[in-house]
Structures are given as structure tokens and as C-alpha cells.
């Protein structure tokens, strides 16, 4: 059973075609940003949200007037279908822009030649431009969700060099796919392995860090009914995992050492995993003669507690609060579809609760991207923009704990000044590498009608209403 580590970048649509364009424009970020968000007349809606805009704000990184127009043309049902399909062609200029990021193109072993600061910079920039300009907005929202659900801290050790591959090949690739595949892919990513010490877990010398989190955070949830014994058994299943550090080998690749793997029989959540397995402990056996084909991934992904845990988080993520009936529906859909993520979230998109659920605060990343989208800003996600994101408190992939950035308002309410400062800098066109054109924007007529245009836009984006979705 092979756990493939080296996957060529594939998830960006039309990459091949874009390479030529990317090369033609190389070193010219401003041109690409201008191409991906061409100037046009933009009308900003009232701050008090209509149900239509609430629907769009909750299924995207912030609605634009173009989104609203299209929604009105297509209707809700077709919009949901399109969002779930997530197969719209991405803007070619976005693809070209992404092509310039080494972190999305290169293997970790090659990235190690770059300064860490540049790698971190590219990770941030790539996240910003994707979220801002991707046509498949729901998918990007799911990427943000899973990236936090399976949080890693990119500043731990060499984490920055690993995170880009994981975000690309695991999180984005499976964000709208199947949960079991996502779970497997993330667990096997060097990014996660090094973050939660899977590489320090050997037969006879266990490290339970990853085993605890996969149960508590990634699958069953803290109240999911597992025991300390289950944690120990899961840790045994993951023993012998390594990251390549030997000379003349590809540094930072996944490596499995069967001698360091505990090959004894295990009992995980009441399910027996027979002795003699290697990686089959987690991925399952393909040998039909063995008495148990499913491994840890299958056991955890198929567990009803996992369905409940994911349902609760997803409903809160999209709709801002709890709704037990909806959560039950989502959990049932998850189990029925055997972990199909599209089928799982469909009931949320179709529910009234999506729009009527309690307000949920925009985290700094969501606030920044929503502002860029609302004002049709042109950006390549460069350093000066990232500084604003950092000072608001949510530099990407820099939450140190495995639970991901919080979504409750109180966690973010202490940091208003940086939000206002960003809104003002954006409205004044004072962020290097990021541009807005005030002349193109029409604000609601009665909104601070007598104020200067940049004050109007800054106040619009700073308003309490705009901090919520």
C-alpha cells in the first residue's frame, strides 16, 4: 500500500494553459492583479443585509454586486448547484498569479533552499488571492474550514516548508470530496506529521499527541465517547511514521519504518485490527483473505460521533449557531453518503437557518477578503497587505494550537483598531501593491453623504454591520 507523497500540482484548473501566461507576465504582479479584477462600475449595497446578500455572504468570502446579479438571474437552487459543483473555470489571471508561488509548485525538499520569510510570505499571499478571486467561492470557504479543522502551526520548526503542499494536495484537493480521503491525506501530510509529533511515535515509545487530536478534534469530538485506551490503540496504529532526515534522501518526505511500527493486534473503538499489519492499520487492508479490511481512517470516518461532530461545526461555520434538527439532517446526510462532503453540506445551504441563524463574526481573514471583494480591489496579496492581516490577529497558518482559529466574536473583539486602520488604508489606496478606485464605487446614497469619498468607504467597511455575516 503506497502512501503517495509526491503529487504534482493539479487542483488549479487550467494550470497548463496558464503557465505560458504566467511566464509572459512573470515578475509583474501588478499587471496580473489588474487583470484578475478589471476596473468596472461597482455598486455597494446597504449595510443592513437583505436575505439574498446574507445567503451570498455566508456561502462565499463576501458578496460582490456581480454575485448578486448572477444570483438573481439563476435563482437559489441553481446557485446552490453551481456552488456545490465547484467546477467553474478559475480566472486565468488568478491561475497565472498562483503559478508564481514556489510554495504551490515546488516540493518541500526544493523549498528548503528558499528563505523561510519568503515561504511564509507566499503562503499568505496565495491564501489571500485565492479567497479573493476564486470563482469557486464555496470551495474556498470549505478550504478555510478544513484548514482550521486540521490546523497546523506553520511556524513550528520547518512547518512553513510543508504547509503549502498540504494546503494544496490535501486540504484543497479534498475540500469538496470525501471526508475519509481528506482525513487520510491530511494525516499523512508531513505538515501534520511534524506538527503533532507523529514522527516521534514508535513501537514501545509511543507519542499520543496525534492520536488524541485525531479523535478529539478531527473526527469523533471531545464528547465522542472514546477512551484513553482508544487513544493509545490509535497511537499504536500510527507508530513508525517518520519524516526523511537522512543525508542524500529527499529531506522532508514521508517515510514508514516497519521495524518501528507496532505490528501487534489492536482494538480501536471496539473494532479489531489484526496483527501483522503495517500501514494497513490505518489505510485498511486490500487483502480479501484478511478478516478485517477497514483501518483507522475508515473506523473513525464512519463513526456516528464523527458525523455529529462535523455537523455541529459545519452548521456553526455557515449559519452562525446551533440548530439541532439541521445538525441531525447534516449528520444523517454525511453517514448516508459515506462522508461525501458535498452531500453533507447541501442541507445547510438549502435550509432557512443559513440566513436566519445568528450573526457570526467575520474573522480577520474573512473581513480582509470581504473588503477587497466588496471594493473590487486589485491585489497580489503582497507583504503590506499581509501586515494588516497580521496586525488584525489572523496571519494564516499561525494559530499555534491544534484547534484552529476560533470563530466566536469575543475572541476577536479585542482588536478593533487594526480593522479600522486597514479599512482606512484600503479606502485611501495606501496599501502598497493593493489598489482600489474610489471613482468606480457607488455607496448607498444616504450613507454619510457629505463625507469625503475615502472616509465614506473606510467607515462603510469599518461599520459594526460589516464585521458580521
Amino acid at each position: 500500500m503506497e502512501v503517495s507523497r509526491r503529487k504534482v500540482l493539479q487542483s488549479g484548473l487550467g494550470i497548463g494553459a496558464a503557465i505560458g501566461l504566467g511566464n509572459a507576465l512573470s515578475g509583474c504582479g501588478a499587471v496580473t492583479a489588474r487583470m484578475v479584477a478589471p476596473r468596472r462600475e461597482v455598486e455597494l449595497p446597504e449595510l443592513k443585509r437583505s436575505p439574498e446578500i446574507a445567503f451570498l455572504d455566508r456561502t462565499s468570502f463576501g458578496s460582490t454586486d456581480a454575485d448578486l446579479k448572477r444570483y438573481r438571474e439563476e435563482g437559489k437552487e441553481a446557485t446552490i448547484k453551481r456552488l456545490l459543483a465547484a467546477n467553474e473555470e478559475e480566472p486565468i489571471a488568478l491561475t497565472a498569479m498562483l503559478h508564481k508561488f514556489d510554495v504551490l509548485r515546488m516540493e518541500s525538499v526544493e523549498l528548503f533552499d528558499l528563505p523561510k520569510a519568503r515561504v511564509v510570505d507566499q503562503l499568505q499571499a496565495a491564501a489571500i488571492v485565492r479567497a479573493t478571486y476564486s470563482t469557486n467561492q464555496l470551495q474556498e470557504r470549505m478550504v478555510d474550514f478544513w484548514s482550521n479543522h486540521f490546523n497546523v502551526f506553520a511556524l513550528k520548526g520547518d512547518g512553513a516548508f510543508y504547509k503549502g503542499r498540504q494546503e494544496q494536495d490535501s486540504v484543497r484537493k479534498h475540500a469538496m470530496g470525501n471526508f475519509r480521503d481528506l482525513l487520510a491525506s491530511v494525516s499523512e501530510s508531513v505538515s501534520m506529521i511534524t506538527y503533532l509529533d507523529s514522527d516521534r511515535n514508535e513501537k514501545g515509545k509511543p507519542n499520543e499527541n496525534f492520536a488524541r487530536e485525531i479523535l478529539e478534534l478531527h473526527t469523533l469530538g471531545v464528547d465522542g465517547g472514546y477512551t484513553q485506551k482508544d487513544i493509545q490503540e490509535v497511537a499504536r496504529c500510527f507508530s513508525g511514521w517518520m519524516v526523511e532526515t537522512r543525508h542524500f534522501r529527499p529531506k522532508g518526505e514521508f517515510r514508514f519504518e516497519i521495524e518501528k511500527h507496532d505490528q501487534g493486534e489492536k482494538l480501536v473503538l471496539g473494532k479489531k485490527i489484526p496483527a501483522g499489519f503495517g500501514l494497513e492499520d490505518v489505510v485498511g487492508s486490500t487483502d480479501e483473505h484478511r478478516d478485517h479490511p477497514g483501518g483507522v481512517y475508515d473506523i473513525l470516518a464512519a463513526h456516528p460521533a464523527t458525523a455529529r461532530h462535523l455537523a455541529r461545526k459545519l452548521v456553526a461555520w455557515f449559519a452562525g449557531g446551533r440548530d439541532e434538527a439541521l445538525e441531525k439532517q447534516v449528520a444523517a446526510s454525511y453517514l448516508k453518503s459515506k462522508g461525501d462532503i458535498r452531500a453533507t453540506i447541501r442541507p445547510i445551504l438549502e435550509s432557512d437557518f443559513l440566513v436566519s441563524g445568528p450573526p457570526r463574526v467575520r474573522r480577520p481573514f474573512e473581513f480582509l477578503v470581504a473588503s477587497l471583494r466588496r471594493a473590487n480591489a486589485q491585489t497580489a496579496g503582497d507583504g503590506p497587505l499581509q501586515e494588516h492581516l497580521r496586525s488584525m490577529g489572523q496571519a494564516m497558518y499561525e494559530w499555534p494550537m491544534p484547534d484552529g482559529y476560533p470563530i466566536d466574536a469575543r475572541s476577536w473583539a479585542g482588536s478593533m483598531v487594526p480593522r479600522w486602520k486597514f479599512a482606512h488604508a484600503l479606502a485611501s489606496d495606501a496599501i502598497r501593491g493593493t489598489n482600489v478606485h474610489l471613482a468606480d464605487l457607488t455607496l448607498p446614497t444616504d450613507f454619510l453623504a457629505s463625507a469625503k469619498p475615502e472616509v465614506r468607504l473606510a467607515a462603510y467597511l469599518s461599520a459594526p454591520e460589516f464585521q458580521w455575516i
Partner: protein
């Protein structure tokens, strides 16, 4: 964690990379953040641990009534693992002298030793390094108590793990806790009916983990530079917009303006310390000067967090000359100035000085020491029953060292912190999971 697989280089690399990243961030910030900088932060509560917040937009009704507290806890964290054995030196212990032929300090009456290598006597076992002269003075005045062989149960010897463990108030890193000990305490025990934006302040670029989860906590690089430099007309509109709603963000915005207004009454640039004190011109000195200014202004500062370091002295730690004596001088002078400046107000203040771990007993080949386990913990304040070495001393006999050759942790830092929270801050609910015992920093 499996120790023999973690090389010294590897753990240090983690730390230095994190430090490097922090510095890079700081450097890249300065252009936009200078002059306004209410950066970060926020009570960062794990949302999983805080389910009720999801359904709650209005917060006023869930706030508890808090009594007015005019006591202040100042936490100075020595980052990088400070060598307690050369700060409070067990000068009578032969094992100490044998293990540190180059780095050792000598007894106060040692005839063969140069004056600069002689400790300032505490008792027949211990003496302060002479670079901690102000600590010695505070000790003699009965306002500094210390706990030796103090630490947590985390044996990873990784800065990352050890700091995370201690800042979350855990005994070992496996305990599933996301918030910091101060954050938890402020949330569970000190929630105010009227939010006070100055309840908890960290001097620095980011909120330290110990404050994670606090209902309101801010990190500020410098009070003197905390200003909202937005155009007047925009500020006016923002004040209007944020004065209306009752959602958390509206309230937080209102609180921010209140903070800015409160701070406006103090001119940090011209504020003068009292009692003829001059603070050393160091980060810690400047920070503590602002802490004292805030305490004097009576704006309700309950928790102040400051970092000092880096104390990761693998090389050139030195005995009387080197990195560590320099750091000790900075620390001692800044705290000396702070205590003098506060005068009688020190009666309502406790300063805690702590570090994530101590260092190896045996010196290495680079006039330095590698990561160890136990270190020293100081409590300084007007009500502290100082002039005493608290806790149990395990000694340095090889049979009492741990398997790596480090002094064992015989004193639990959480017990000391719990006591300080109770006695100085009037804590009723403690943020620690059952630490047992009492050292008696404030008497028994």
C-alpha cells in the same frame, strides 16, 4: 516525548526559528504599526471550549459582577530557559563546583576567588549572583521571596513545549487546555460587569499565550505610541457608529475608544518616575516604567505581562562576564527601579519572575549550558514575606539528578502562582487543575 531523538540543535532550532519569525514580523510591522498599534489582541478562546458564545451575540447579560480590584500582578517571563543555578547559586554544594569548573560562582567568603565571582549571601547554602544586586537588596528588605528547583512536569526540554505547558498553566503538555492560565482566571474569576480595557495588558508585539482566552486583553508595544492616527472626520463617524449597537463588536469598538480616551489623560512620554528613580534604557525598563505609570493612574490594571530575554545561553553564558550576567543586570536594575518607583504602592503589587525551564547542571564546551529542567522562581511585592528561600531543595548529588543530569523539579510553579492569585489578587476560582500544597509566600 522521546528525548534521545531530539538533538539539542533541533529543539533550539525550533526556538530560534520562532524567535526569528517573531523578529521578522516585528520588523515588517513597524512601518504600519508604529503609532497606533492596538495590535492583536483579544481574548482568544477556543470556540470548542466556548460553545455558548456561538449563540450569543449580546454579551452584557453574561458578564458577572466583579468587585473593584486595585491590585496588580506583573508577570515577567524570562524567555529561553534561564539558568537558575547561576542566579541563586548553591555555593556550598561541591557537586555544583565540580560540574561547572568555568562557570561557577564562589561563596561570599571564598578567599581564593575574585570579588566579581563571589555571590551575595542569602544563607549558608545560597547566594545571589552579584549581577542581581537589586534582587539581593529586595530580599534583605523582606520583599522578595524565591522558590528554587521550580518548574513544570514537561520533560521535553523543548522551548516550544515547555512554554506552551507553562503558559497554559499545565503540569504536563498532554492536558487538553487551549487557553492561558491568566486568560482562564480573568474569564472565570474576574469577569467585570463593566468591561475595563486596561484590565490585562501585555507589553510586546503579540499577546502571550498565558493571556489567551482573556475576555479583554491587549498587547501594546509601547503605551507612548498607542494612538489612533485616523483622520478626525473618520474617527467621529466611527465613534457614532460604535456607540449604538449592543453586539460584541460594537461594544468592543466602544471599549477601544474608551481605552484611547483614558490613556489620553496620561502623557507617557513625559511621565516621570517617583522617588528619584531612573529606569534602565532597556525594553524591560521602559515597559515597567509604563506599568508603574498605569498603576499610579489607577485605571484598573490587574495583569501586566512582560517578556525578557533571550536567556538561551548555550554559548558564552559566562560567570561574571557573559550573556547571563548582562541579562541579570538588566532584569535586576529594571525591577529594582520599578519597586522604588512604586514606593508604598508596591503593597498592592506582586511581581512574578519565571522561566520555562532551567539549564543542565554540567557546563558544556562553549562556556554555556544546555537545556535542563528546574530553575528559580521569584515573587516580589510589598506584602510578600520575602527574605526566604521557599520550597524543597533536591540538592545536586548525582543520585538526585534526573536521567539526563538535570536538577529535578521539586516545586510546582502552579502552586506558587495559585498562592499569588489567591493572596494578592483575591482569586476565588483558580485556573489550575488541582495543584497541591502551599509555599507561604504571604505567610500561612
Amino acid at each position: 516525548m522521546d528525548l534521545d531523538r531530539i538533538s539539542k540543535d533541533q529543539v533550539c532550532e525550533d526556538f530560534h526559528q520562532a524567535e526569528e519569525a517573531r523578529r521578522e514580523r516585528t520588523a515588517s510591522f513597524s512601518s504600519t504599526r508604529r503609532g497606533l498599534l492596538a495590535t492583536a489582541s483579544l481574548g482568544l478562546v477556543s470556540w470548542m471550549a466556548n460553545k455558548s458564545a456561538l449563540a450569543q451575540v449580546k454579551i452584557s447579560e453574561e458578564k458577572q459582577k466583579g468587585e473593584k480590584n486595585d491590585h496588580t500582578l506583573v508577570v515577567v517571563f524570562l524567555r529561553g530557559g534561564a539558568d537558575g543555578l547561576n542566579m541563586v547559586v548553591p555555593y556550598e554544594d561541591d557537586h555544583y563546583h565540580r560540574a561547572r569548573p568555568n562557570l561557577r560562582m564562589f561563596g561570599p567568603k571564598d578567599k581564593g576567588a575574585a570579588a566579581a565571582r563571589k555571590v551575595l549571601k542569602i544563607d549558608d547554602r545560597f547566594g545571589f549572583h552579584p549581577a542581581l544586586a537589586d534582587f539581593h537588596k529586595l530580599y534583605e528588605d523582606g520583599r522578595l521571596g524565591l522558590l528554587h528547583a521550580c518548574g513544570s512536569g514537561d520533560g521535553s526540554r523543548s522551548h516550544f513545549e515547555a512554554m506552551a505547558t507553562m503558559e497554559r498553566g499545565q503540569w504536563n503538555p498532554a492536558e487538553p487546555v487551549a487557553s492561558g492560565w491568566l486568560g482562564r482566571w480573568l474569564t472565570e474569576d474576574r469577569a467585570l460587569d463593566k468591561p475595563n480595557p486596561l484590565q490585562a495588558v501585555a507589553w510586546g508585539d503579540t499577546l502571550p499565550d498565558m493571556l489567551r482566552g482573556a475576555p479583554q486583553a491587549i498587547s501594546i508595544a509601547s503605551m507612548a505610541e498607542f494612538k489612533l492616527d485616523l483622520p478626525e472626520d473618520l474617527q467621529k463617524e466611527l465613534r457614532k457608529m460604535y456607540g449604538q449597537g449592543s453586539d460584541e463588536m460594537s461594544l468592543a469598538g466602544g471599549t477601544t475608544f474608551e481605552l484611547l480616551d483614558r490613556l489620553e489623560s496620561i502623557d507617557f512620554k513625559t511621565a516621570q518616575p517617583e522617588n528619584g528613580v531612573t529606569y534602565p534604557d532597556t525594553g524591560l525598563g521602559k515597559g515597567l516604567k509604563e506599568v508603574a505609570t498605569l498603576i499610579r493612574a489607577g485605571l484598573g490594571l490587574e495583569v501586566a505581562c512582560l517578556d525578557h530575554g533571550v536567556w538561551d545561553t548555550h554559548v558564552a553564558q559566562g560567570a561574571d562576564i557573559g550573556w547571563q550576567p548582562l541579562l541579570m543586570t538588566e532584569l535586576s536594575q529594571a525591577i529594582g527601579a520599578f519597586t522604588k518607583d512604586l514606593g508604598k504602592k508596591l503593597d498592592n503589587v506582586t511581581v512574578v519572575v519565571m522561566t520555562e525551564f532551567g539549564r543542565r547542571l554540567g557546563e558544556n564546551n562553549g562556556l554555556g549550558t544546555d537545556h535542563g529542567r528546574a530553575s528559580v522562581f521569584f515573587a516580589i511585592g510589598g506584602k510578600v514575606k520575602g527574605g526566604k528561600v521557599y520550597g524543597t531543595w533536591p540538592g545536586l548529588d548525582p543520585k538526585n539528578l534526573d536521567e539526563v543530569g538535570d536538577m529535578k523539579v521539586t516545586n510546582d510553579y502552579r502552586v506558587a502562582l495559585a498562592e499569588i492569585l489567591r493572596q494578592e489578587m483575591g482569586a476565588k476560582k483558580l485556573p489550575f487543575n488541582n495543584p497541591q500544597g502551599l509555599y507561604g509566600f504571604y505567610g500561612t
